[in-house]
């Protein structure tokens, strides 16, 4: 059984539907990527899981227990690393970890050990007694992470954990996340950095308008057979564009040179890619043009994301 099961989750604020029929699962040791533009519903879903908001419908089952059954026990099972640096700048790193650790019931030598381990995990042992306000952005992010996982949760929600950090801190944080997953911790990883999601997650869920638009294993979603063909055409004219019509998507046009794309997945049934490529080459040559380059355009997560959510700017 999955560590986390979310079924038909529903949430509305007045007339605005923030989440509609959202379902997903996280297994032990799995990192599930959450993607979506701002306001898509990811944060609402995470806040419901963290107990900061109540749901209007659906089920949330963690380790076989419904969210409402034993909220205190479930809070102990769950760790949250919020996007904001939810730490006290006027406490030291050690005091921050000690305080939050004590809220999870740790005290004495056990708490001390956990604090020391937490600091070591994120490479802050030598800065333990420094006030957090004196930390760099990367150090704060690392401490923020350490606080969220101090109590060794089984399920961790990470909301943009690497925003605004230097490559070293980023790499260290990503290693920490992988390390947690290897120990069997289920992780929800929310980020706008596609390359991070591609590198870390086995499954992803793409949110928009309160719904999950795509959900599944990354390999399946990023079907490599969906790669398009990109052609560089010399002697490009408007007449040629008219002749090619909907067979291609016209990209960058500079003087008499243009980049056009032939989509591998095409609406017109019965025509395969090779056939369409032949047609395009013939039409280009008929218009006194010629092909200077031809290559495969990879179907990336970013492309899929933009296809699913559109290019319109969000608030």
């Amino acid at each position: 059984m999955s560590l986390l099961q979310v079924r038909n989750l529903h949430k509305r604020y007045g007339d605005f539907v923030a989440l509609h029929d959202v379902s997903f699962e996280v297994d032990r040791g799995e990192i599930l990527g959450f993607l979506g533009p701002n306001g898509a519903g990811k944060t609402t879903a995470m806040m419901i899981l963290a107990g900061l908001k109540t749901k209007d419908g659906g089920e949330v089952i963690i380790d076989g227990k419904h969210l409402e059954e034993d909220p205190v026990h479930l809070k102990r099972l769950m760790g949250v690393v919020p996007q904001e640096l939810a730490i006290y700048p006027d406490l030291t790193g050690e005091e921050n970890l000690g305080f939050f650790g004590s809220l999870y019931g740790y005290s004495g030598a056990d708490l001390k050990r956990r604090v020391a381990e937490g600091l070591a995990r994120v490479g802050l042992s030598e800065f333990a007694t420094q006030y957090v306000r004196a930390y760099s952005g990367g150090m704060k992010r690392r401490l923020n992470f350490a606080v969220g996982v101090l109590h060794e949760p089984q399920l961790v929600i990470l909301d943009e954990p690497t925003v605004g950090v230097d490559p070293q801190s980023r790499s260290h944080l990503l290693d920490c996340v992988r390390d947690l997953a290897e120990k069997g911790v289920g992780i929800i990883y929310c980020s706008h950095y596609m390359e991070e999601i591609e590198a870390m997650c086995r499954r992803v869920a793409i949110f928009d308008h309160g719904k999950i638009l795509a959900y599944g294993p990354l390999d399946e979603l990023l079907d490599r057979n969906r790669s398009d063909l990109e052609l560089q055409v010399q002697g490009w004219t408007p007449a040629m564009a008219e002749r090619l019509g909907e067979r291609v998507t016209v990209g960058d046009v500079r003087g008499d040179s243009a980049v056009v794309t032939i989509s591998r997945v095409d609406g017109s049934a019965g025509t395969n890619l090779t056939q369409r490529l032949s047609e395009v080459i013939a039409l280009v040559q008929a218009g006194a043009g010629q092909l200077s380059q031809i290559h495969t355009k990879e179907y990336t997560l970013e492309r899929m994301f933009l296809e699913k959510t559109g290019r319109r700017l969000r608030d």
């Binding site: 205190v72 919020p82 939810a86 730490i87 006290y88 406490l91 004590s102």
Partner: protein, 419 residues
């Protein structure tokens, strides 16, 4: 329960590290009390008496009768007399505010007394019908001291009358004067005997009086008995701003959300967030009362231990209000706006800024909608009364707890909606 303790410890640690704010909480009321003490002439003064009316005198007569008046007036502790040689100098000094009232004794003063007849002493329409004007004496003051001028006029006339009556009687009716003098001597003798008897009885009375509590109000401290508690109550409620800012900061940092995601219950989180400020508030009041005693000769009244429940209940209603403002305001600017408005308005309504006794009856009643007023009533009983009504103090504490409960409940309800 333990969670509340950890949150309390954390907030106390953060408060301790913000020592400038703590210093302001203590120093600002002390500065206010000092300024007001100075304004009433009582700063660090255990010897100086209450404010006296300053009187400048110009005597153009310079004869026996005018000198008699001055010697009588100088005996009065309520007036501070200084003589001038001419009217212009005296008026200038009065304009500069060095004197409240100026008395001009004209050159015809003795002559006009000499012109009086026996009948003028009692006649309503005789030569004394215009009192001081009839004697060539004038009293002037600035508009601000018009009431003091009237008092001084009556006093001077009384002293003058007393000084010239025996002389006129002696001059106009030797027989009447002799019989009056004999009668006066008899009264003086009887008075002396009565004084002697009273002195013996008085010793017993003093012993009896000594059995009761001494009045907390003395000539040296009466101002501070009122302004120390008034400003203490006002500044105790400034904890509202500190508490609200702490909550807003916690919310802005995201640590409030983190607290709510922890296993700590909502109730203990609120208690933990409230207790540090309750402690600060109680310590603040105690330190101000200690400072009042050390620096301003303030008395803690005849039942000092009863001050403790009033201090605690006042602080509870202050932190209750703090929680309400903290959960209502969304930004630091709103905390300043709501908090300052609320704290100063309540202080003004309740009588923190001016003694409740000076307020019109209607305002005194309106003031009862504030916790400050109940606190002030309780402090007034305990700090100024020789026999404080403990029932009333208990009633005030009860009302303060009701305020605390209302503020706290609404604050808690608002806290639930915080994100």
């Amino acid at each position: 329960m333990q969670d509340a303790w950890y949150i309390t410890l954390k907030d106390l640690r953060l408060l301790w590290r913000d020592q400038r704010t703590l210093a302001i909480l203590l120093l600002l009321p002390l500065i206010f009390i000092t300024i007001l003490g100075t304004s009433t002439g009582q700063l660090f003064s255990t010897k100086q008496k209450a404010q006296r009316i300053k009187v400048g005198v110009v005597d153009y007569d310079q004869k026996e009768f005018s000198q008699l008046i001055l010697s009588e007036v100088e005996k009065l502790g309520a007036l501070d007399i200084q003589e001038f040689e001419d009217i212009v100098a005296a008026r200038k000094r009065m304009e500069q505010g060095d004197f409240d009232v100026t008395v001009f004794i004209g050159p015809e003063y003795t002559e006009r007394i000499n012109n009086l007849r026996l009948g003028d002493l009692l006649a309503r329409k005789g030569r004394l019908k215009d009192e001081l004007d009839s004697l060539d004496v004038k009293v002037e003051s600035s508009a601000y001291f018009a009431n003091a001028k009237q008092v001084v006029e009556k006093l001077i006339f009384g002293f003058a009358y007393k000084s010239f009556v025996p002389a006129i009687m002696k001059r106009d009716s030797q027989k009447l004067a002799m019989s009056l003098i004999r009668a006066a001597n008899k009264i003086d003798r009887e008075a002396e005997e009565a004084e002697q008897m009273a002195q013996e009885a008085g010793q017993e009375l003093t012993e009896i009086a000594a059995q009761g509590p001494a009045s907390p109000l003395t000539e040296q401290n009466f101002v501070y008995q009122i302004i120390v508690p008034s400003y203490t109550v006002m500044f105790v409620f400034f904890i509202v701003l500190l508490m609200a800012r702490s909550m807003i900061e916690e919310r802005d940092l995201g640590t409030l959300a983190r607290l709510r995601m922890s296993p700590a219950s909502e109730a203990w989180t609120i208690v933990g967030k409230t207790i540090p400020f309750l402690i600060v508030s109680i310590v603040q009041t105690m330190l101000l009362f200690i400072a009042g005693k050390l620096f301003f000769a303030m008395s803690w009244g005849v039942k000092p231990w009863f001050l403790l429940p009033v201090i605690v209940c006042t602080s509870m209603s202050a932190v209750g209000l703090g929680l309400l403002v903290a959960t209502t305001a969304r930004t630091d600017a709103q905390v300043s706006a709501y908090g300052n408005f609320l704290v100063l308005t309540m202080a003004g309504l309740s009588g923190c800024l001016m003694p409740r006794a000076w307020q019109p009856e209607l305002m005194q009643k309106i003031g009862l909608v504030t916790p400050h007023a109940w606190s002030l009533i309780a402090y007034d009983q305990l700090l100024t009364k020789q026999y404080p009504e403990i029932d009333q103090v208990a009633r005030c504490c009860g009302m303060l707890l009701v305020f605390a409960a209302i503020f706290f409940s609404v604050g808690w309800w608002r806290f639930k909606s915080l994100r």
